[in-house]
Amino acid sequence: MTTPTGTAEQPTTSPRSGLWSRGAGHYQSVGEWWILPAAIFLVVFFVVPLVENAEKSIALSQLLRPGTGDGYYLKLFTDPYYLWVIGQTVILSVGVTAICVVVGYPIALYLVRHAGRWSGLVIFLLIAPLLTSIIMRTFGWRVLFARRGLFNETLMDIGWIERPIAFLNGPVPAVIGLVHVLVPFMILSIASVLRNIDIGLEESARLLGAGRIRTFMSVTLPLSLDGIGTGAILVFLLANGSFVTLLLLGGGSIQTLPLLIYQQFNTTRDFGFASAMSNVLLVVALACLYLQLRLIRRRGVKGG
């Protein structure tokens, strides 16, 4: 840490506190109670609702099947249909995350290393779609994938197909829609890490005889794993909980837990089952998050 005078020094740690505030030219320890507002906020708006949600899923289940507290969970984990939905939720989230890495990394690299004075414009273009409603963006894809949409018209014009393909009934538009919505999070996460990599390290590798690909694989990529990890976590969690895109694209070809949760609230009003599904979704997300962090750490990069 650097003081206002420019000299590097380590703050004197107090056994009672790890929090610091800057006083007149030096750092002072502050009490733990500074985190109290944030802690209260988290407890009231996150922990309490979670506990209530769990309690509700069991209480309503008992009402439905007296003497048991596991009716909904039993159904979720024994009915092949619901197991298939849980699996599809995870596969979709992992798939979308992987596509975002593949699509996003080159753009992040271009942004940091080659965009130069255009980098502001590239960042604006990345962020601009986020300023539009997700529903508008999703409807845009529906127009493009429609029977008389741009893709079908183009494919027919160049003679690749004779009649329009029913894109909207398949999973492809849904995956593309999700990637479109989520890839900016991946790009910005990777770019922020790439920007901090000392370019001298890559130049040293090149001077020592490594080619472009070897330099990238041995130096740039490993050093940017933190960015990929952060982006992957963000994209995975957002994909895991998204339902608007899947509601409007894919024609029901992809069924995920968020879609079923929405349905329990909107159609059947079975709040207990919705609570049980949301708890399962949370646990699945946490398990995947844990695995991702383990994977990143095993690759030799410090975890978050």
Binding site: R142, R147, R148, L248, G251, G252, N266, R269, D270
Partner: protein, 353 residues
Amino acid sequence: MKDRSILKGLDRRQVLAGLGAAATLPLMPRTALAADVKQITVTSYGGIWERAIRECFVTDFKARTGVDAEVLIGGPPQWISQIEANKDNPPIHVLVATPDSAAVAVKAGLVDPISVEKVPNLANVPQQFIDMALGHGAAFDYGAAGLAYNKDTVKNPPKSIKEFVERTIAGEWKAGLPTISYAPAPQAFVWSFADALGGGVENLDPFFAAMQKMRPNVVFWTGVTDFLNLMDAGEVDIGVYYDGRTWAHYDTGKTYIDFINPEEGGVMSPVCTMKVKNAPEIAWEYVNSMLAPGPQAEFAKILNYGVTNTQVQYDELRQKRITPWEKTRFPPNDRIGELLPAWTERWNKEIGA
């Protein structure tokens, strides 16, 4: 340094006093708050419906009472959940709901019983439209769910639901059908088709068998305006839809669209208006506006839906467009409500969410 605090000029004691006063607001008698009501919150579906609600009912209510009405867009299940979450101080004061949702609201104790004393215009509403809301409101308009189609691409339209199903399976057109997540779909689509194909509320097998065969030629829609977007984009040629909304779309210049009341009869699809329990008493006046002949006639003119006040005289065009209620089928709403979770699960497993 300049003090930018919003609390500038207030000492700690004043701030605490203010917070204390705010904390006691929920404890005050409701009548004290209701006496000074400046605005109530009412509900509406989206699209052309919202415009009609604002122009016909909100305008009349505001002119008569001086109280404004904020219009909340959405659907009955969502609104009922919002009211249930805060029964003592409901965020919604007048609920519009399909009969199945109205039954849920009544059974959950979320709405007040209606009477002519509270709503004078109720005197001119036939009893059957009050019974639909279980005496806790009344249907103020109705549509018929039949088939809307594109005259340019469907030259020889089907006359019945049965014919529509057979020709969809044959791949004569792309059909737009609602998903089960669309609130009125269980009555307007699932029950209607099961009934037309020889099944019924207790037997959906003919419906699901037909759906499996129709699926390759079907695009699902999730909301009322969604179907029109699909029609405009050329994504579907025909589908399950309402008479009123079809004509409203026609009137916007989309003259390619037409409506068929199938031989089996379109599905009676009324919308009820209900005052939410613990809402300010002035909300009854809004319900009264919704049942008044003047605003209802205007509503019918904009939406081309039938209305329920017997004093309303339709103009010539509306007489031609509005499906007479005698030519509709009344779905067994109560039983459908009971079976809905099972129907939804079967739909998910056999057709998709």
